[in-house]
């Protein structure tokens, strides 16, 4: 914060107040609004999850008036978590980080950036409003397969499903515009010297994510408009006898499988920034990581039908093989991360702990996913709680732990204040324990044959695991409280962060915290993927010996010389 005094023009340009936030086109403010908006939807989606877990804690129907309301609860839980929390939260982290990391003053299209953001709360309101319609919200699951999602007395007669479709089209359009913005920003706005192979991994993962978004999201838009036409104008796309329900599944998963990588690649990018900084080492295998990311992006388009093995309508050997194949680049990344930690000078700050949470939990999610890639095992486990366990180990164990690593890592940059380490660790322990208590038992339930998406169950063998999962769910719920308290007290009187509290490698640490509206008064020379590291140790890193240079302590940067020149110094 103190560094602001050095750039008075920056402060004057930053009008305060609500009006400024509502009309801003500054990628940093938009990024923060993305994060806040997504976090609110995380809380809403979390409440729905707790309702679901409460209902399932013991057999019978207790909490909900009937099964239909239960169906609404899990449908909206998943829709909110995927489309209004994980995807936009990661887009928000990227929105803040990417222009800073490549040394740009803003995104390529700042007004389109604001438009992308504002579509999200609008979509969220539509989704929330659908509870007030006759027949209630969408109850057809987040995938909304026809014929369940078609109009019909026994399926989805009310306008709730239509609102769901419109909300998703809005959110999808927001994603597409955001993806285009990221790509143009990354290709066109890099600072001099920032070649593609000097970009931070976070920027690379956002690049590949954006390609997936631009190529895949319009495809689900097409599925949704066809579903809308079926429901409202007598169309015959997906409803037998003339229409084909499997057609919807193909088009839906053509988006929704790449969407899985949209939801995890940026989180991989976050921990690829966090692990090197807290190991005091460069990322092990920078280029291999990039090629693995591109490989995941490319293969991601050829595995969609592994969600449809049991339909009997897809070529099983091909999709099974491709699914196993995609584990290879993912495995490469595990080696990148583990060998970055190996013999590093580890500092167990909260961001690193969450990153390690990602590593371990995502590994489990990868392994149980590989089981499901085997056709015979998938036939046995399709639509059981095994699938629920798998998807939460990747999306919660992976994406959510990754994004919390990012929040703890960049909070000092966003606000100029450090989050409290002690509360951060309490948050991690509660969330880690609660997460595993909730989702590990679901493996057992799945193997025992408990189907997903049911409000009640009769097999007594499932009682214990379900109760355990529900207890775990509430521990996850409680774990959010120390985090919220942490944010609250840290904003008020947290430790002042300075420009570069962690001893970072990438350009966002070369400006003040928070950065001025135009981001940089001046940039360090960019000669590698770690320009700020080079600036700190220039004569060592480029002494001609090559090889990675081990660093001593981040304390060296406490004073923040990076932007200690006034704006007058810029050329």
């Amino acid at each position: 914060m103190a560094t602001h005094a050095l750039s008075p023009a920056a402060v004057a340009g930053y009008r305060g107040g609500l009006y400024e936030w509502l009309t801003t086109t500054d990628h940093k403010k938009i990024g923060i609004m993305y994060v806040i908006n997504s976090f609110l939807f995380f809380l809403i989606g979390g409440v729905f999850a707790l309702l679901v877990r409460t209902e399932l804690a013991v057999p019978g129907i207790q909490l909900f008036t009937n099964e239909h309301v239960y169906n609404e609860a899990f449908s909206i839980h998943a829709t909110v978590m995927i489309f209004l929390f994980i995807i936009p939260m990661l887009a928000g982290l990227g929105n803040y980080a990417v222009p800073l990391m490549i040394g740009a003053p803003d995104m390529a299209f700042p007004r389109i950036n604001a438009l992308s953001f504002w579509m999200l709360p609008l979509g969220g309101i539509l989704l929330r409003a659908s509870f007030r319609t006759p027949g209630g919200a969408s109850a057809a699951g987040w995938a909304s397969y026809p014929p369940l999602s078609e109009r019909g007395a026994l399926s989805s007669p009310g306008p709730g499903q239509d609102l769901w479709i419109v909300a998703l089209i809005l959110i999808g359009t927001s994603s597409i515009l955001g993806g285009i913005n990221f790509l143009v920003t990354i290709f066109k706005m890099r600072a001099p010297g920032m070649t593609l192979f000097r970009m931070p991994i976070m920027v690379w993962t956002m690049l590949v994510t954006s390609v997936l978004v631009v190529m895949a999201t319009p495809v689900i838009t097409s599925a949704l408009v066809m579903l809308f036409i079926d429901r409202n104008y007598g169309g015959t796309f997906f409803l037998p006898p003339e229409g084909q329900a499997v057609l919807y599944q193909n088009i839906f998963w053509f988006y929704s499988h790449p969407a899985v990588y949209v939801m995890v690649l940026p989180a991989m990018g976050v921990i690829s920034e966090v692990l090197p900084v807290f190991s005091r080492k460069p990322l092990f295998g920078y280029k291999a990581f990039i090629f693995a990311t591109a490989g995941i992006g490319a293969l991601g388009f050829s595995v969609w039908a592994h969600h449809m093995f049991t339909t009997g309508a897809v070529f099983l050997p091909f999709f099974s093989l491709m699914t196993f194949l995609i584990a290879v680049p993912t495995g490469v990344k595990m080696f990148n991360w583990v060998f970055t930690l190996f013999r590093g000078q580890l500092t167990f700050s909260t961001p690193l702990i969450f990153a390690i949470g990602f590593l371990t939990m995502f590994l489990i999610g990868g392994i149980n996913g590989a089981f499901s890639a085997a056709v015979p095992i998938d036939f046995a486990l399709q639509d059981t709680y095994w699938v629920v366990a798998h998807l939460h180990y990747v999306l919660f164990g992976g994406s959510v732990f990754g994004m919390f690593a990012g929040i703890y890592y960049w909070f000092p940059k966003w606000t100029g204040r450090m989050l409290d380490e002690g509360l951060g660790k309490v948050h991690f322990v509660l969330m880690f324990v609660g997460f595993n208590l909730t989702f590990f038992p679901m493996h057992m339930l799945g193997i025992q044959g408990m189907p997903r998406r049911i409000a009640d169950y009769a097999d007594p063998a499932w009682n214990g695991w379900n109760l355990l999962a529900s207890v775990g769910g509430f521990i996850i719920g409680v774990s959010v409280l120390p985090f919220l308290w942490n944010v609250f007290i840290s904003l008020r009187n947290g430790k002042v962060a300075g420009d570069d509290p962690w001893g970072g490698n990438t350009l966002e640490w070369a400006t003040s915290s928070p950065p001025p509206p135009y981001n940089f008064d001046r940039l360090p020379e960019i000669r590698s993927e770690r320009p700020v590291f080079d600036a700190r140790h220039g004569h060592v890193a480029h002494g001609g010996h090559g090889g990675p240079v081990e660093e001593e302590a981040p304390a060296a940067l406490e004073e923040g010389h990076v932007d200690s020149q006034g704006p007058g110094g810029a050329s």
Binding site: M189, P192, V219, S222, L247, A556, G569, A570
Partner: protein, 208 residues
């Protein structure tokens, strides 16, 4: 070791210079439009995939009631020729403004704009004829796919016409020159894309 100020300030980069305007190569709006068109291609791919899947599952195609209803030599060939012509006039407009010929630009973009509107009018009239023969969105897979595909294409033509209108307005107020006409290049790409989609649609719906 900590205060290596010279290394930090070696490359002082001003606000504008980092903005990409100094860089060579494709401009931001044009790249943005190419990516947007990419996403549109994927959107239409979804619709085309649904069309072929539906057609394969519903033989004979067209169904007997609608046999011969889509006559490639009827009104639609006129609309098709008009839209293809408009792509040429659009490109003439681009070449005009690249030369700095503002009057030629305004003339060509006006013609394109009018041709786009004529296409929409013809398509709307063609729709009324089809409705008259009982073919609608809800009259089975043949009508559903036809009106969905041509309808979304028509919506894109409408969007393109709006963009052309903006170009025309900006052109008449003298906002474009040989050096500054990224919007013209971007809109022309979009207009060509809309044209290509129509050629595909015409081939598939009327000829195939």
């Amino acid at each position: 070791m900590t205060a290596d100020a010279p290394a930090l300030t070696a490359t002082a980069v001003g606000h504008a210079a980092a903005g990409g305007h100094a860089q060579r190569g494709i401009s931001n709006p044009i790249l943005g439009m190419i990516l947007f068109i990419t996403s549109e291609v994927m959107f239409f791919s979804g619709l085309f995939a649904a069309y072929f899947a539906t057609r394969a599952a519903n033989q004979p195609w067209p169904p007997k009631v609608f046999g011969g209803i889509l006559d490639p030599l009827g009104l639609i060939i006129v609309a098709t020729i008009i839209l293809i012509t408009s792509s040429f006039t659009c490109q003439f407009a681009v070449w005009s403004i690249r030369r700095g010929d503002r009057r030629g630009f305004i003339r060509n973009i006006s013609v394109t704009f009018v041709l786009g509107i004529i296409f929409l009018v013809l398509q709307a009239y063609d729709y009324t004829l089809l409705f008259g023969e009982g073919m609608t969105l809800g009259s089975g897979p043949f009508g559903t796919t036809y009106f969905t595909l041509t309808g979304f294409h028509g919506a894109h033509v409408f969007g393109g016409v709006l963009m052309l209108g903006v170009l025309l307005y900006r052109g008449m107020s003298g906002q474009f020159s040989a050096r500054h006409h990224d919007a013209v290049e971007a809109v022309s790409l979009y207009w060509h894309f809309v044209d290509v989609v129509w050629i595909l649609l015409f081939s598939i719906l009327y000829l195939l």
